[in-house]
Symmetry: C2
Subunit: 296 residues, 2 copies
């Protein structure tokens, strides 16, 4: 069973009723499950999380977008979180048996739909049409207020929709990205330099694994230090490979791992790799898990 | 969400229609999922597998039993597999968030119900009322044919139902037991003595872990040997502890683990221990797995 997740951010964090009427639109699509929605009043922004089969999630996203563009007027929006549009950003995230290519395709069908509603759309992450549109922060620079000028520049021609500033909707960013895994490794030392050295060893930017972002920091209360990481593609840079590298680097300093933390949620496929690695159970499949027969 | 599984064995393996009419009874209980049913004509026996919340599984089991005792006449039964009754044995197996005590309680409610239908019932495994009734083979010794004489002996007074031979139904065995995990570890040597030494080191009977049964055998084709195990309580004797013991014992002979195999299905809780052990992720919970939100 294929599962795709979407986590759109919409630019309303105070009007509970408005947000709930968007959620109602999503729930109209059978077999799409809303996992969570949470609003921040200062940010004036809500994060919606839902999942299901890719085609169903696409349908739910179309309904979500149509409703949001109807209800939110960006020309009156104020909030502390960077934003560029009513549906500010809508990532599509493969959870199970969905390839990056399939998620990119869904994001583009969604982008075309929103473009057809008269909203300028930019593709980011794995759906980006040029390298300088990969990162959300780069696309969103200057925010809603800069949009009118930005849209006049050829390098910021939208990927879909009108090449024109639309005051009510602003612009939207969408695309496919892998689920981000927040993984922390605590080390039994109070020397924060060791955590920083190890963070440099494993992270992409300084020569480490391609899909690792890492920093080293002190945990004053625990009397430990931590390598705090985001793993941005668990298939290509799996958790156990990163952990074992950290264990070996730490051993250079005579330091051991105290514990690790997986923060938030994680797809089962990311865990499958953990069994296979440590048990050497090469043929194991998540389909052997009894509870999987109950999913659906 | 609590999940209990039942895997009753019924004494009919040829008449597909009869078996399907029993399955239909189980399916009448909403939210009980039939995972599998398979029949063996020589054994003249079928194995039914279903799961759901404990109370729902109890209800399904009552319906299954009532139908089976209606349709099967043991006085005409022939088959190569040992058996004592129409519903021969009905184990209740905790899969998720169900304690042994809860499963025992369900098995006893089921036993009382079947006793009330006029069928002698024995409790086995974790539900056994005396040590000599723990093993199915001990209770079933002599099979259906010995039942008339057996029921005259005070030591074989049934736990529920009539103290009397009932020709049509025979007797039933029920009880709670933990899921059995079939786990094999292949070693990179062709010396079967090493597998046998290690099997002796880990198995209960010869001084090893309490919930491990193990044998050592040769894998001629692979040119390896195997420690082939059943783990009978993965909470009390967890998979990674057994595997690491085998790795250390194998190292005494300079031998490495080639691969391991988990055969058949496994509850997610048994896998949770694997993460926690190898990642040192003490706070991890299976509720962090995204797909779990879809179960139900």
């Amino acid at each position: 069973m294929k599962i795709l997740m979407s986590v759109p951010n919409v630019s309303e964090g105070k009007d509970r009723e408005l947000v709930e009427s968007i959620i109602e639109e999503i729930k109209k699509v059978k077999d799409v499950k809303v996992l969570d929605y949470s609003s921040d009043a200062d940010h004036n922004r809500s994060v919606l999380t839902y999942l299901g089969e890719p085609e169903k999630v696409l349908e739910a996203s179309k309904r979500m977008a149509a409703k949001t563009f109807e209800l939110i007027d960006m020309s009156k929006h104020k909030g502390s979180h960077p934003r560029m549009g009513a549906v500010d950003v809508a990532p599509f995230i493969p959870i199970r048996e969905v390839t990056t290519a399939e998620a990119v395709e869904i994001s583009k069908q969604f982008g075309k739909y929103v473009g057809g509603l008269g909203v300028p759309v930019y593709y980011y992450e794995d759906s980006a049409t040029r390298p300088e549109r990969t990162n959300l922060a780069d696309i969103r620079k200057g925010e809603y207020e800069a949009l009118a000028e930005k849209l006049k520049k050829p390098e910021w021609k939208p990927d879909e929709g009108p090449v024109q500033f639309m005051p009510k909707s602003g612009a939207m960013v969408t695309g496919a990205r892998f689920p981000l895994i927040a993984f922390n490794v605590n080390l039994r030392t109070n020397d924060v330099n060791i955590a920083q050295q190890i963070a440099r060893a494993v992270r992409h930017i300084s020569g480490g694994y391609r899909y690792v972002r890492a920093i080293g920091l002190a945990l004053e209360e625990e009397g430990m230090v931590q390598v705090s990481m985001n793993l941005t593609n668990f298939l290509k840079t799996p958790i156990p490979r990163v952990l074992e590298t950290i264990r070996r680097e730490a051993a250079r300093y005579g330091v051991s791992v105290g514990k690790t933390e997986l923060i938030g949620t994680i797809p089962m496929e990311a865990l499958e790799e953990i069994f296979k690695y440590y048990l050497q159970a090469h043929d194991f499949s998540v389909n052997q898990i009894i509870e999987n027969s109950l999913i659906g």
